[in-house]
Symmetry: C2
Subunit: 436 residues, 2 copies
């Protein structure tokens, strides 16, 4: 039995953001746009459960992400017999597991998008999000996947981000084979320290990178050569001008030039080659992408990253599944724009209603219902104001929710429409009314 009720004053949980209705409306607009763009390229949606078995999450070895494990509050003997479940920390591992599990029911090339929450058990004091949305797209195929997809994915992402109206978007593309080929040609066996050093070029500067490369065993000439290569930025011709030291390097050059050629339909500077891009993960084997928002300096780093990989799901299935994909860190991007450029979100209305329907006369309830239904049938969102109080109360309500029009039904055919912006009132046929 509950004791006499105490008030438990709730507060925000650090790392688990939530939005007010007017912010949520803006967030929905973003999601709708992203989904529409993804589907316009024929990508289908999938959703996986929020959890995976811990063994699935750790199948590739320890992960560096903090994982949230689930425990039943009231454990019993049965609980101990079950597999341990944990919230997924990204959408790649669940996608790989999904593909392996449903392999025989899928048609390849399999093009999917996924827009779900992921969880990371970060320390709250680091100010990072512990629950956030990611929007991922990937194409995978059995045995081989045409390079044209590497360009298509870039094109989709450009169109997606460009349509959010957050200023200029720049995709920076490289191909790991170029740098890896050069490193191989120098007789270096472990390329990882070299690629890591290049990855830091923008952050720590040339001199520091040169020092690291020499520490890692390169001679001064070699280090300079790596640096010179990494600094290359430009178009397909700039890439073709690179002198290849071996076949791998030539492959990388050809592939990157091909991808850029296939992005010729995008505006100038929308997609450029940038050989500093290597991505930390060894997972990627060819094309790699990062994305910069040139007009949002407050967003540090890449808003959307990904690349080409040799094999998606080798830990779950004995099939060779190469693919290419990219991921938008949705919630962080939305939150940065929300905090620094709220004007770009069009935040305002606290209701999806196009119309507030009001009648002073209690006997007109049936008329109000009928008018509302007619207008809904015509595609308008109609809120009926049921509280009959002082005359101006519904007016204040429409204003505070930013509902653009008030409708006062007169009879089954006609109503008075008041435009809240101009104050203008007109009597119109209900079946003629259109939002101004």
């Amino acid at each position: 039995m509950a004791e006499k009720q105490k008030i438990y004053k709730p507060k925000a949980i650090s790392g688990f953001p939530e939005w007010l209705p007017e912010e949520r409306i803006a967030e929905q607009r973003w999601f709708d746009h992203i989904r529409k763009t993804f589907e316009s390229y024929g990508f289908c949606s999938i959703e996986t459960p929020s959890v995976e078995e811990i063994d699935v999450l750790l199948a590739k070895g320890e992960v560096d992400k903090e994982i949230y494990v689930l425990e039943r509050l009231h454990k019993d003997e049965e609980s101990d017999k079950e597999s341990r479940l944990a919230l997924h920390f990204d959408q790649t591992v669940p996608f790989a597991r999904y593909t392996a599990q449903h392999f025989n029911d899928l048609v390849f090339p399999f093009k999917r998008y996924q827009m779900q929450r992921v969880w990371r058990g970060e320390r709250p004091q680091m100010g990072r999000m512990r629950e956030f949305y990611q929007c991922d797209i990937d194409v995978i195929n059995v045995d081989n996947l045409p390079l044209s997809f590497d360009a298509e994915i870039a094109s989709m992402i450009y169109e997606t981000l460009e349509g959010l109206n957050i200023g200029r978007v720049q995709l920076r593309i490289s191909n790991r084979k170029i740098l890896l080929g050069l490193i191989e040609s120098m007789g270096v066996t472990d390329p990882v320290p070299v690629t890591r050093a290049v990855d830091k070029l923008e952050k720590i500067g040339e001199e520091e990178v040169q020092n690291i490369l020499i520490e890692e065993g390169l001679n001064a000439d070699q280090a300079s050569q790596v640096l010179a290569l990494s600094k290359i930025k430009g178009g397909a011709d700039d890439i073709r001008a690179i002198k290849a030291e071996n076949d791998k390097m030539q492959d990388g050059i050809d592939e990157l030039a091909f991808v850029l050629d296939n992005l010729a339909h995008l505006p100038t500077q929308a997609a450029i080659a940038d050989l500093t891009i290597v991505r930390g993960l060894d997972y990627y084997t060819g094309t790699v992408y990062e994305t910069q928002l040139l007009d949002i300096p407050e967003y540090e780093g890449s808003v959307c990253s990904g690349g080409r990989y040799d094999d998606l799901a080798g830990q779950y299935i004995n099939k060779h599944l190469p693919g290419v994909g990219i991921s938008i860190g949705f919630s962080r991007l939305f939150d940065v724009i929300r905090q620094t450029h709220p004007d770009k979100l069009g935040i305002g209305p606290k209701s999806p209603a196009h119309l507030l329907l009001y009648t002073e006369d209690k006997d007109k309830a049936a008329l109000a219902t009928k008018t509302a239904q007619t207008l809904r049938g015509r595609g308008f969102n109609v809120e009926v104001y049921h509280t009959v109080k002082k005359w101006d109360k519904h007016f204040k309500y429409a204003k505070s929710k930013m509902i653009p029009t008030i409708c006062y039904p007169e009879d089954e055919q006609t109503a008075k429409f008041k435009d809240m912006a101009t104050g203008e009132e007109t009597i119109q046929n209900i079946s003629d009314w259109n939002q101004s």
Copy 2:
């Protein structure tokens, strides 16, 4: 460091459903319809985090739902200082907490819908879902909320379920004040055992209920009177014909008749009074709803339930917030239809694409991109088939994904369109083409 890779064959996790792409497309269609209907009544979306502090979840006292608590896999000293977090088991508690926390930023009446996953740590062998979507709508106001909303919520739910094309929908509505008033008039102090017995009427039958009522201290006449009342079904006039024993009972009669009167625009039998409906929860204080799918006998029980409550968030804020709301158990409904009436879901296409664009000629890649962009700009979803292989391969691909049309671009203006259903091929202007 990862050891040599072992294959970990993944399997479904009991209670955590996931769908194939073609099922997911059907699920999205349902979600879109539900959202559209909710918004057409001016309800706004909110989302809360997946977790709440355990103290928030338990603020009303122990809950009978099984709760999943989160634990960080790599706990540290900091972990112990944090509040314990748990996945929410419904959307009512988070909605109450949200309303209290953001009270000053909300405009009342606050009309919100919420379509999120909830989690229940059920034993897996019970075959219940442990992760599922709920679609909730509620209206709340400060101090008092007009009864018209009780009818509006019923109307919305009818329209929502009716639009899913799963046969006849019947809302069964009652008002708890009627039965509670009668019980009070009999001098019974604790009404709970009586309402519980009535709640079981359809399941255990009249005789058994009569026995329970007598065990609970009613005399035979009183038990018969309770039974006779509970068996009343019908329209507003049948309710008005009930003889009230006290003011409470009369209030219930008037309210229920009012709600039914305000649902006169619905088809006959779409909304009926049914006094067996009492809902288990004492939370509800007036109107209560259940919903039956008359053509889906495989769905046992009510697909959508709710009612009127006196106070939403008394445990979190010192404001009186009466409301009315209802909840669709989305995933269970979808799964029952999927398993028993898959035809009603229109499952088929494995891609959202309207068109598969194909060119045999590698040199036409730029033309393909341009044609695809033109068609996308016209609102069509276009998948480009990048794999240039044997001629008929792309044809089989379109067939297996059920993409209805193949487009073979000829030049920037024209293309050949092949209708996959009829086999008909026509050369058309790209800017004229419309899906047949």
